[in-house]
Symmetry: C3
Subunit: 346 residues, 3 copies
């Protein structure tokens, strides 16, 4: 619960309406009612304003509005902040709960919560305010920075280092062995994977996502980068800062990805490549070469996104194109023969 | 163990042969022997009947058969039912087993089994006959309907609701945070995901599959829908009833999928779309627009499945088509010049 | 720690330099220093030799080298072996640790380590030297061969059999139900999956990978086969020996894959197919028919890899090809008309 005035101040927005109005929740525009705040950022949906029964709304500048409003140049961000303030209470820390197993050599910060079923290995260091949900496993020597949150079933293998304010969704695996084998004639000899994974501050990692440890050295996820569910990050990959990686992407070994990139769902990136900063890759792109910064690309191999859209829609015409090509060849042959015959006649 | 007569009655099939014959197991036609029943539904395999050493067989009508048979218009369904009867004993409920941690505020139905390593949070409600295999984690406020079965390592996050007769394979994650961030200039601000997931009655969810909770509101999996392994269902997605989603499919946020649809393996569906009822999408289709009901589609972007098959097989001819096109252009230029010269001459 | 002479003998390499030199670690050529050994196998990187500050190096024959070296025809394999010797100490077995739950009817080999949080079911048999990391779950009747290593959160369901010297990365699922349902009019009736999975000796299985149990019979992973992360192997699939399957591959039900195959990342293979020995499939290939042995293929449908590369790079020219085709058709029509008119005139 907060007043509208408090919320406007909190997001740095301009207030129109009663600052003492009490707001107790956030809801989508179609279902918001008494005591709730909603938001609109896409002009496409402005017409929904008329039927809105929310007590207040977050809006971009320049929209006429019959109800109390917080006007913000970035309504989506303001919405996210207000939702955080209203809907995400920080639970009291509960310490090391019964049913968890913490090595005596582990070092725990203040105000931690370690739920039942967690197993914290030797020499692990856990920062202040860290929450480990049930059944998290930290192998020996793992480091977790302050205020990080690991959901149920997350596994972090030996010596990997997780930064501060990191969030890891359930069942993600950090530091599994990289996929490296040396052919020895008949079969394959396992190459030990003795490097680690470093996940920097402010990163979020999705459910079921797997980030492999380096063969030697480090697999690194840069500050503020956000990774969705079921993503595969192979050994020795380096991902820059504030990069967004959507679900089911696969990144092969030793590839480097820049800052502020966006990889759409199911994208595949081959190994040993360099992808520059600010590269956007459309869903399911397949990258097999280095990429210069500041591009929007799609396809496999990648091409400018607009070109890809055209090529992709032309694809369905391929059989008809082939038929027309054959017809043209026949007509051409006929014409050529016709001309040749005339040549002879003349 | 059952008699052939009992099995025929159980599946509503017509019996030919001794009803007192004892059947103790089910096996494929090539390996079935004494005391076992097998089945044939595909006419392609009818010739295997001659070598069959099973004691009985499930068959469609109109097939001549030397051994005792249960004749059913749907032999595959009859097989599934007989296999269930013969091979799937319901184990005795074991209650709350030692080594599991159940909150005192959780409410448990009758005849439940909660295996070691499970963690059941505050205010959780669990229906009658529910089985939680080892290391299942239910966050606070989760509801599980009667006779549902959660395999080892499944995580259901706070307040999500699972219906009755639901089966969830190992390590699936229900209710992980949706992937939502608001750009705040330098990086990204997390949008809290305060909605839930509702999984309706009779749904099956595969191993490692991730179904994200809604930002606000509900991510919903409709009654009887079957989802395979390693599928990604993003926040606020709504899937209808009796829809089948094969392995490694990815469905982006806020998309609605109808009833009785089938999505082949590795299909990708973009966000904020509507897919009508009875839509079949071939493996690896990429959907980027709304789809009317009652279609069989493939490709990316999707097109009628038969058209896709033709286009896909033409694809390998692209380099030769391009070469021929260039040759045609050259021949055309020559012809045109030839004609022009004649024009001048005449 | 070992001497250079010991290491050369261990990998069967020829030694140049002081055999008593002490080597304490392995590092990449750019960062290796005093007391460390590095390696070079790719001639492309030989120029890096000059700046190398390692104490020793593993090299192919015929390279001039200023520092002590182990010369081996397979430097990559020699590196893997030396890394194993220097960097992978075998920890002392710890027995059944507090916080794990082992059924009294389970049979354990010698020198096992069962970490906290593991749940070992009835009639399970575990071989000598097996390590189960925290929170591994083995359902009833599972068999694990000697010296196998199961990482945290791995689930092996009832009666599945894991060979010797198998490594399973965190959160992999062995023996989840295959995805089989019989339509019963309104919806789907679950076909019980009563078969098992057999994982043969020397196999490695990646994090989050799911290998489904057979409906009847066996899903089999052959000796020495290596499977990466987040791979889907459906029911009744049979994979041969020493085959390599890269991340995010999906293999549909009842398909057989030969020995010594390689499936690149995100490959999809349809069900009920046979793929011969020594088939290499490029990343994201889509296989919809049987494949003869000894081929290198890519694309969907698959074609020879070189042909695919050409077709894929031609794809971006599709819109321009279509435009040119239309232009050619117009020019052709004009020419034809021109000729026809002349015909009339003459």
């Amino acid at each position: 619960m907060a007043t509208l005035g408090e919320l406007a101040a909190w997001v740095g927005g301009r207030l129109t309406g009663n600052p003492d109005l009490e707001v107790k929740g956030v809801a989508p525009i179609d279902s918001a009612g008494e005591g709730e705040i909603t938001f609109l950022s896409n002009p496409k949906y402005f017409k929904r304003l008329s039927g809105c029964r929310a007590s207040a709304i977050i809006l971009p500048p320049g929209v006429e509005c019959p109800i109390p409003a917080i006007v913000s140049p970035n309504p989506y961000l303001a919405f996210a902040k207000i939702l955080t303030a209203l809907a995400c209470p920080s639970p009291e820390p509960k310490g090391v709960m019964a049913g968890s197993i913490v090595s005596p050599s582990a070092v725990l910060g203040e105000s931690v919560t370690i739920h039942p079923g967690c197993v914290v290995g030797d020499q692990v260091r856990i920062g202040d305010g860290v929450v480990l949900h049930p059944n998290v496993v930290l192998y020996e020597g793992v480091v977790i920075g302050d205020h990080s949150l690991l959901h149920a079933g997350v596994v972090v293998r030996e010596r990997c280092r997780i930064g501060s304010h990191v969030i890891i969704q359930p069942s993600a695996v950090i530091g599994g062995d990289g996929f490296g084998f040396a052919p020895d004639g008949a079969g394959y000899f396992k190459i030990p994977q003795v490097g680690i994974v470093i996940v920097e501050d402010g990163v979020e990692i999705g459910a079921g996502t797997c980030i492999d440890r380096a063969t030697l050295g480090v697999t690194r996820i840069g500050k503020g980068t956000k990774i969705d569910n079921l993503v595969q990050v192979a050994h020795n990959v380096v991902i820059g800062e504030n990069t967004v990686i959507v679900s089911q992407v696969g990144i092969a070994g030793s590839t480097e990805i820049g800052n502020h990139c966006t990889l759409g769902g199911q994208v595949a990136v081959a190994g040993h490549l360099k992808i520059g900063d600010n590269v956007m890759l459309g869903a399911r792109s397949g990258v097999s070469g280095n990429l210069e910064p500041n591009q929007i690309l799609s396809g496999a191999p990648v091409m400018p996104h607009r070109q890809f859209l055209k090529a992709a829609t032309t694809f369905s015409h391929l059989p008809e194109m082939r038929r027309e090509l054959t017809q043209l060849q026949n007509r051409m042959r006929e014409l050529e023969q016709q001309l040749e015959e005339r040549e002879k006649l003349s």
